[in-house]
Assembly symmetry: C2
């Protein structure tokens, strides 16, 4: 890194001050300003046109003067940075981290408190953070509010979900910015614990599109020891202001200098592919802190899970599926319990036969008969199996079949209880050779008064990743706060749910066809999502004629999701018997890679469609995924990403002519072509449909 000190300034307050910084490409520029009364602000231009108008910066402190005005400038530093790094697992084997940086060192008059504002400008966006250096006049302090603004240029199209402190599992609303209104959200959406505090608060990442066709994304990176940032929308002035999720007594963040806020990020481009393919969020996180990463491996897995969602079996031993304490229930197995030794062995056999790495089993441990909805503290002990789940025998059987077991540790939001048992949980995993854990946080948090998105829980989720690393275990968290790139620092934090996953389709209004076209522009920017695709029996009436719920895609789109929804941990979520009914389509799931050499986004429009190709790591195989929303879609793809002069066998899994997510979702067709880098392929996506293609070199 080369630093060049621009200036060392003693400015009088009456003068004001401004300083600009550009992205390496020069397309994006940020202008920092200090007003005459010492207020810091910034604005952003893209191709010389404003995309963020003057927006003020600052934080408010509890029992101390606010750090939002009366600043003077001590120094201004410019630098540029360009490096490459190799993620342990990822969408590409090498990630370039290239930005220009501007550090404004400020001191507040009278309080003498020092605060730096750091800007980084990448080719696909900008980031800023507050930096509180170690100093005499500020040691411990409490953030009571952050007042970072994002002042927009107009009434953009926005993909938003409500600013719920406890859940990010909402379907997206697509409206004008002026249409943001949580009162209009249908809350009959299957979400367990809801805490929407304000009418106009929304969550980040917030994906937008301007009337002139610019794509704009407001998010954050490196949320460590800080609450999640939501955004308050001023629907009249088109302005966003940061909203930090509070703790039980209304405080936001407890900090000690030296410390930093997370990065506040704004991505902008006239090409949506720049945003969906950006690695800016990862780049803004600290490098890997784990020395030995050899145990961190990608996994394709099956599990005893979807069969409970569709009502075929139950999590609880007694088979009541009553999660809220059936008073008259005695713990006698009814034959409906899913996590039996026998059924688990069936899944292990299936995994082994079809080349899957792992088997997840939910409902294996005592507690499911009364686990949800009562803010109960001591629910699970995380180690005691039900009497029909022989963990030692299963562990040995899995080992004999070269299959890895994935632990399930549902906390029901009772985090204190989980933390008290965490070491016992992980020791149990080591004892029985489980390399990965799926954690769950369904329900209101204990310590009571805390929220899923507050500093306490952010620290918990990060702690679980760090502590798991001590045991050389991988973590996949569900119902956690959404990741902001911490997986770069702790790559054993392999995946998370943290958005509305496939399960909602089984028992609620589900996820509309556009859902999966938005997630890569929002949730996935912060890290891999365990979306659990691969549902072949689309309609729940398959299990029960009275049911009207369904997955809101075609079968072919379910295949495409393995490519469009990046994760090094991918579930084949449907039941073995359903895969056995469609072995030709199942072949794609068996073939598709989960860790990548390279990825290229070919077509992208948030809320409408996405097409991506990825090259498997250390392989010449490529895979394509293309998806659409509720509208059918045709396009033609050039295969110029393939290695020149090489021939490939392309197996195309696509919607049948008459396929339709609602009326005919399973209809698919499979064809094989020989192609080269000069070939083109026509894509025909049904309403709610998709296409998946595997490319294998022909020797």
């Amino acid at each position: 890194m080369k630093y060049f000190l621009t200036s060392f300034l003693v400015l009088t307050l009456s003068m004001g001050y401004s300083q600009s910084i550009q992205s390496p490409s020069g397309k994006i520029s940020v202008n920092f300003k200090l007003t005459s009364n010492g207020q810091a602000s910034y604005s952003v231009n893209y191709n010389s046109k404003p995309v963020i108008l003057e927006s003020f910066l600052g934080v408010k402190l509890k029992n101390k003067p606010a750090l939002d005005a009366n600043f003077g400038i001590d120094s201004v530093k410019n630098s540029s940075f360009n490096e490459s790094w190799k993620p342990v697992l990822g969408e590409q084997s090498i990630i370039v981290n290239h930005y220009n940086e501007l550090i404004i060192s400020l001191t507040q008059k009278e309080t003498h408190v020092k605060m730096n504002i750091i800007f980084r400008v990448f080719d696909e966006g900008i980031a800023f953070r507050y930096d509180f250096p170690k100093q005499k006049d500020l040691n411990y302090f409490i953030i009571s509010d952050e007042v970072s603004q994002f002042n927009l240029t107009g009434d953009h199209k926005v993909f938003w979900i409500p600013g719920d402190f406890d859940s990010n599992e909402y379907p997206y609303n697509e409206t004008k910015f002026s249409g943001i209104d949580n009162d209009k959200v249908d809350l009959n959406n299957g979400i367990a614990a809801k805490s929407i505090a304000e009418k106009y608060n929304v969550q980040s990442p917030l994906m937008m599109k301007t009337a002139t066709g610019l794509y704009l994304n407001v998010f954050e990176a490196a949320v460590v020891n800080y609450p999640v940032m939501h955004l308050k929308a001023d629907v009249n002035d088109f302005k966003l202001t940061s909203v930090l999720v509070p703790n039980a007594i209304g405080d936001k963040a407890y900090l000690q200098t030296p410390c930093v806020s997370p990065w506040r990020t704004i991505m902008v481009s006239d090409d949506a592919r720049d945003i969906v393919g950006s690695k800016m969020i990862l780049n803004l996180n600290e490098p890997c802190k784990i020395d030995d990463t050899s145990y961190i491996k990608p996994m394709k897995y099956v599990g005893i899970w979807w069969e409970m969602h569709v009502g075929k079996s139950t999590w609880d031993y007694a088979g009541s599926q009553n999660a809220q304490n059936n008073l008259n229930q005695d713990l006698v197995a009814s034959g409906k319990h899913g996590a039996t030794t026998e059924n688990t062995k069936r899944y292990i056999d299936f995994a082994s036969k079809n080349g899957f790495d792992g088997v997840l089993v939910e409902g294996w441990n005592v507690g499911w008969e009364d686990w949800f909805g009562n803010w109960k503290e001591e629910v699970f002990d995380f180690t005691t199996p039900y009497p029909d789940f022989d963990i030692a025998a299963i562990s040995a059987y899995a080992k004999s079949k070269n299959v890895k077991m994935i632990m399930h540790s549902e906390t029901s939001g009772s985090v204190g209880n989980f933390e008290r048992h965490l070491d016992r949980d992980f020791e149990n995993m080591v004892k029985y050779n489980y390399p990965a854990v799926k954690t769950g946080y369904v329900g209101k948090i204990i310590p009571r008064g805390e929220f899923h998105d507050g500093q306490t829980m952010v620290n918990h989720f990060n702690y679980v990743a760090r502590r798991a690393a001590d045991y050389k275990l991988m973590v996949n968290s569900h119902e956690s706060s959404r990741p902001t790139g911490y997986g770069r620092t702790y790559p054993n934090y392999i995946a998370a749910e943290a958005a509305r996953g496939t399960e909602f389709n089984a028992w609620s209004v589900g996820n509309p066809p556009m859902h999966e076209t938005i997630l890569p522009f929002t949730r996935l920017l912060g890290g891999p999502m365990d979306y659990t695709p691969g549902i072949f029996e689309i309609k729940m009436s398959h299990y029960n004629p009275d049911k009207t719920e369904q997955v809101h895609t075609t079968l072919a789109k379910q295949l495409a999701l393995y490519v469009t929804m990046y994760s090094p941990l991918q579930m084949a979520a449907d039941l073995p018997e359903n895969y056995e009914k469609y072995p030709d389509a199942f072949q794609f799931i068996k073939d598709v890679a989960v860790d990548w050499q390279d990825s290229k986004y070919l077509e992208a429009e948030p809320g409408d469609y996405l097409t991506v190709v990825r090259k498997a790591k250390n392989s010449e195989k490529w895979f394509l995924g293309a998806i659409t929303d509720e509208n059918a879609r045709k396009s033609e793809i050039k295969l110029d990403f393939l290695t020149k002069e090489k021939k490939y066998k392309a197996i195309i899994y696509e919607d049948a002519k008459d396929a339709d997510w609602k009326n005919n979702p399973i209809a698919y067709k499979i064809s094989t072509l020989e192609v080269t880098s000069k070939s083109k392929i026509k894509l025909n996506l049904a309403p709610g449909g998709g296409t998946a293609i595997s490319f294998e070199p022909i020797n």
Copy 2:
């Protein structure tokens, strides 16, 4: 237990109902009443005279109708109970548990909620609790308030401390009931974290004396999964009402049927000795739940502790004694650090030479340079020693000297952090052969918003005891909520501080001479206190001529405290060099037992004096302790507790003629007598003084 069903009643609300129950001796009677509008109440008579006037009972629930009226009676059951049990350690080897019981089963009209009120009447007092049976109409519920009343008969004398949710370390106020007023409390008292919510709230146990000479004590027993009960004093009507300590969001207790409240207790006698010697609180707790109690052993110990309080050395390695982060401090040992390997070996040698069981070392682990006052979460990791504390070498050295090390685990109130590290702490103890831990909770609690006396912390303190039992470890908690007999159930919970201990004398206004005459009537009723007596160098000017602080007793009284302040864990708190200066007085500390066959309270007046004799377990040795407040005191003691026909050598450690806690505290005299059960001994206690006597049989 024999049960006889008095009646099965279908009462109309207009009738009302009343039912009485007496103590085994017949002296105490309780009258239960249900008013015509279905309100439950009780009153208490002693020798046929009222001591508690009609007092209403009930609880309020969050988001449900209050359980305080509209009840009808389903049934009334009478029974009596008489058994003996053997405490693992105690003031006596056999405890008699003898009471009559009345169970009133109620159902609330309209809600159909069932609640039982259970009364137990002992010879020294009464107890009642709410019992919520498993039922269709009440499963999970939240107590928002408890409205148990204690309606007094007059403006009694009261020994009270403020109803502080975070601290019980106050000196007692002795006033009329009408004089209770927290605004009059001097808060410059050395207490670290204070949370006094209301002007008239006081803590229990509340010791009182009526104008007619009755002793009255309001307390509670078996506080498990429930907050601590404080008391709101109505100073005009002489009424007390229960105040439950809230959690971070104002709720009191989260419960699930079947469950019970703690017992609310009222002790009453015309002889104060009945109260100070009562085992009612222990009797109201569940029997021992530990199968193997062989590791639970009494301990007399010394420690690296008082030398920090008096300023000779420091907890932190750098020797700054700056607990709140000295910014410019680097971790270089200054030579003032107390917990060095060398100093620890000196204490081990001293312990070994003088027959002590254990050595406590505080300040041994990293974190003390910034541990207090900033609500910091990650303070200690509980396992990392300072570089000058060689834990392995110390552990081996102690073993070679047959001395046990006592772990110190200060949490600074950061309980989440402690719970995350608890297993590692205990594993470290097992590894290094530490059989006991002294925990500490100085500071505001994290999870933030919780209080030391709330349900969350009650559960934590109990959890630590239970989890320690898994590791076969003993627990001595400091700054915890005060015990209510849980040590019967988990006897490895060997002691607690949980009141104002000796340390306050070193650096604050300290503990007035009457302090130790009150504690046995209050704090000690719930379990042993680690009061850390044995200070010989009474005045802090010994260490620093500028200091005016001092222990508010004579040296002889310090010896007497080993007998008057029951604990199976007793510290000889002063420095080895101070004991070596007074070897004749020190002999008593070396000799005195800490676990007892029997105890007899000979003289008792709360706030004035206390004389007790105890027989060492499995021994013919007796020990006497007599203390007084600021007034000199003379009395004559009959030795009829000694075994008849046996001769004893009595060594009397008493105040010298001119001794005085303030002007001449160290002056003592030691004499030896030959005595029998027919002898009498004259006690001469100086102002703030005491007498200690050992009786050894002469063969």
